[in-house]
Amino acid sequence: MYRILREIIRLGRVGDPPPKPGPAGADGVPGYFRHSLAIRQVDAGSCNGCELEINALNGPHYGLENAGFRFSASPRHADVLLVTGPVTRHMAEALRSTYAAMPHPKRVVAVGDCACCGGVFAGSYAVLDGVEAVLPVDLHIPGCPPDPDALLRGLLTAAGEPPLAVEESP
C-alpha cells in the first residue's frame, strides 16, 4: 500500500487541464458547455486505430471527466454515440440497434476518416462508406486516427450550442 501511494504521489497530476467552457475562442470551441455527457462508443469495423486514441483520451493526461464526459457501458445511459469505422455491412444492424436503444435527445459523432467517408476502405463491397449511410451524423472528426486532442475538441463541439434539448423525439 505504501509503495502504491508513493507511486501515486510521484505521478502527481499529468497533462494539461482540459479546455474550459468560456467565451468562444479562435479555435472554434463553443462559447459554453452546458451538459455533462455520457458517451457510448461503437466500433463499426474500424482497424482499431481509432479505439487506441479513444482509450488514450480516457487516460490521465486528458482529464476527460473534468471536462464533463464519461464513457457509458450501455447505450441506455448515453447522450452521444461515438462511431468509428467505415460501417461494415456486418455491423450496420448492431449500430442501428445501439442508436435505437439510446434515449432522446442524442447526438452521433463520426470519429476518423473511415467513419466520415469510408477512408481507405471506401468502395468495398463489405462497407457502407461511413456512418451517414446508417445514422444522422451531427459531427465529423476526421483523422487517421484523430488524436485525443481532436477528439476532446470534437466532443466539446458536440456538447455545445445549440443545446441538446432542441431535438425532438420522433
Binding site: 474500424s46 487516460g59 476502405f121
Partner: protein, 516 residues
C-alpha cells in the same frame, strides 16, 4: 533444405532473400501427406488462403504456409475450377477449421472432410452462392441484415443456460460475439463468432499500386500497423529484388520494438484495471501516453502509421533525437520495473490472475499457439530468435518464456518483453548504420510473388503478395489471431463468466486483422 520426406511430396525451391523459405506446388492427393509431414516434424500451420487463377491458369489455387524448424514452407495446390474442393487439414491443425470455412465464404472452395461447414466470415451481407474473391463476383444483392442465424453448438441440460455477449461490448473495444454456455457461474463452453469487422480488405488490395497497397497494409490492424507495414514492404521488395538501405532496416526494427512496447504497456494497464486495480491503468496509461507523444515528436505519428514504406522508411532520426529516445527508454524501464514489483506483490491482483485462464503447454502445442500467448504456455516460437532477419541477426534477441499458461504468465511475458525491447532499442540506437533511408520504388516493374513474415507484438504476421504489371492481383495478410482465438475459447472453460474480460484481455487478440 526441407527434409527428404518433404522433398518427396513436391519440388520446392529456395527463395531469394534472407528468410529461410521454400515454395512449390503440391498435387491435391498429397496435400494431407504434406500436412502430416510438417506436423510430424513439430511444424505448424501459419496460414491458409485461396486465389482465383482461372483467367491465368484455368484453376483456383489454395496456398498453405507452414512453419517448421528449418523455416517457412509455402505450398500451393491446384484446385479444379469446375469442382472446387480441397482436402481439409483441420484434423491435423485445429486452426485450419476457420481458415477453410473462410476459403469457402470468400472463394467457394469447399474443404472435403471438414465436419464444420458453417460460414465463418460471411454473415448475411452477401448471398451464399456469391464469392467476393472470385474475379466474377457481381457485388449486387448485398444486404446488411444482422446475423441471427449462426448455428452455435448447443449445450443441453436442465441447469444449463446461455449468455450472448456482443457484438457491441461494454468497453471501447472491437466488435465480436461470444456465446457462453454456463452452469451457474462456471463456463461449460464458449464459442466466438467473428467477422463483424469484415471490410473486404483482401479485395480492396486488388488493383492497387505499390503505394496504395502500402497505405492499406498499414490499416489492416491499427495496433500492428508497423508489423503489417513491414511485411508488406518486404514482400514488395522481394518482388522487386531490392534490398532497402541498412539504416532503413534498423529503423524498421526500432519501430517494431516500439510498437511492441506501446501495446504491452497498454495491455498491462488494462489487465490491472480488469482485475479492479485502477492504479495500474492510470500508471501504465501515463507511461504509454508519454511514449506515444515521443513517437509523434520523433517519428511523426503516434502509432507509427505509414513510417515504413516499400524501399525503406519515411523518416529519419538525428543524433539528438536518438539520445532523447535512449534517455526516455531508461526512464521508462525504471518506471516499469517499479510497477512490476508492486503488481507482483499485490495480493488482490495475484488472486485474480494466478491459475486463471490456463492453457497447458501440451494443449498449446496441439492448438499451434505462438506469440505472447504461446510463449506464456511454453511454446518457444519467436521469429526474431529462430529466423532472425536483418537487423535481428545482429541483435541477439532473448526470448521470454513462461510455462504456467495462465493470465499471470501472459502478464509476465509482457513484462519480460518490455525489458527486452528497451534493451533492443538501446542496441539499435547505438549501432544505427549511417546512410540513406529510402530507395525509390515508384515506376519499378513489379511483377511476381513475394512473401514476408515478422514477429509482431501479438505473434507472427505473414503476408503473401502477387503483383502483375505494377498492380496487386492478390494480397493475403495472416494475423496470428486466427490460430489464437480458439485458445481463448479453451482458456475460459471452468472459470467463471465474470473472469472472462480478464482472460480475454490477457490474449488481446485482433478482430480487424482477423476479419479482414
Amino acid at each position: 533444405m526441407p527434409s527428404p520426406q518433404l522433398r518427396a511430396l513436391g519440388s520446392f525451391r529456395r527463395w531469394a532473400g534472407s528468410a529461410p523459405g521454400w515454395s512449390g506446388r503440391v498435387a491435391a492427393p498429397l496435400w494431407l501427406s504434406l500436412g502430416q509431414a510438417i506436423h510430424g516434424q513439430g511444424g505448424r500451420l501459419m496460414g491458409l488462403w485461396g486465389e482465383d487463377r482461372r483467367a491465368a491458369e484455368g484453376c483456383f489455387l489454395v496456398h498453405g504456409a507452414f512453419l517448421f524448424e528449418q523455416g517457412l514452407l509455402l505450398a500451393e495446390q491446384e484446385v479444379n475450377a469446375a469442382r472446387p474442393e480441397t482436402p481439409s487439414l483441420a484434423a491435423i491443425f485445429p486452426a485450419a477449421n476457420r481458415m477453410e470455412r473462410t476459403l469457402y465464404d470468400l472463394l467457394g472452395i469447399r474443404a472435403q472432410g471438414l465436419a464444420d461447414q458453417r460460414p465463418w466470415l460471411r454473415h448475411q451481407a452477401w448471398p451464399e452462392d456469391q464469392f467476393p474473391l472470385r474475379a466474377d463476383f457481381p457485388g449486387s444483392d448485398l444486404g446488411s441484415a444482422g446475423d441471427d442465424r449462426y448455428a452455435f453448438v448447443p449445450v443441453s441440460g436442465a441447469e444449463v443456460h446461455e449468455i450472448p455477449v456482443g457484438p457491441v461490448h461494454a468497453g471501447t473495444i472491437e466488435p465480436g460475439h461470444f456465446r457462453f454456455q454456463v452452469l451457474g457461474e462456471e463456463v461449460l463452453r464458449l464459442e466466438a463468432h467473428l467477422g463483424y469487422t469484415h471490410k473486404g480488405t483482401e479485395r480492396l488490395f486488388q488493383g492497387r499500386d505499390i503505394a496504395g497497397g502500402a497505405r492499406l497494409a498499414g490499416r489492416v490492424s491499427g495496433d500492428s500497423t508497423v508489423a503489417y507495414g513491414w511485411v508488406y514492404a518486404r514482400a514488395v521488395e522481394q518482388i522487386l529484388a531490392l534490398t532497402p538501405p541498412p539504416r532503413a532496416q534498423w529503423l524498421r526494427a526500432l519501430c517494431l520494438e516500439r510498437e511492441r512496447l506501446a501495446n504491452h504497456l497498454g495491455d498491462l494497464g488494462a489487465l490491472g484495471n480488469d482485475a479492479g486495480l485502477a492504479f495500474a491503468l492510470t500508471q501504465f496509461s501515463r507511461l504509454k501516453e508519454d511514449f506515444l507523444r515521443d513517437q509523434e515528436r520523433y517519428f511523426g505519428h503516434r502509432y507509427l502509421m505509414d513510417r515504413i514504406a516499400p524501399g525503406g522508411v519515411a523518416f529519419d532520426l538525428d543524433a539528438g533525437q536518438c539520445a532523447s529516445l535512449r534517455e526516455a527508454g531508461r526512464a521508462l524501464g525504471l518506471a516499469v520495473a517499479r510497477l512490476q514489483e508492486i503488481l507482483a506483490e499485490h495480493g488482490g491482483l495475484r488472486d485474480r490472475v494466478v491459475t486463471l485462464g490456463r492453457i497447458s503447454p501440451p494443449l498449446a502445442a496441439d492448438l499451434g499457439m505462438m506469440g505472447v500467448a504461446g510463449r506464456a504456455s511454453g511454446q518457444a516460437w519467436d521469429l526474431r530468435v529462430q529466423f532472425p532477419q536483418s537487423p535481428y541477426d545482429a541483435l541477439d534477441v532473448r526470448m521470454a518464456l513462461e510455462s504456467d499458461g495462465d493470465v499471470a504468465a501472459r502478464m509476465a511475458v509482457r513484462f519480460a518483453e518490455i525489458t527486452e525491447s528497451l534493451r533492443l532499442q538501446d542496441q539499435i540506437l547505438d549501432a544505427l548504420p549511417a546512410g540513406e533511408t529510402l530507395l525509390p520504388v515508384a515506376g519499378l516493374p513489379a511483377d511476381g510473388v513475394g512473401a514476408a513474415w515478422v514477429e509482431g507484438w501479438r505473434g507472427e504476421i505473414l503476408l503473401w503478395l502477387r503483383m502483375e504489371e505494377g498492380r496487386i492481383t492478390r494480397c493475403h495478410p495472416q494475423d496470428p489471431s486466427w490460430t489464437l482465438w480458439p485458445a481463448v475459447e479453451q482458456a475460459a472453460l471452468r472459470d467463471i463468466v465474470a473472469d472472462f474480460p480478464l482472460i480475454n484481455k490477457s490474449f488481446n487478440l485482433n478482430y480487424s486483422g482477423h476479419d479482414l
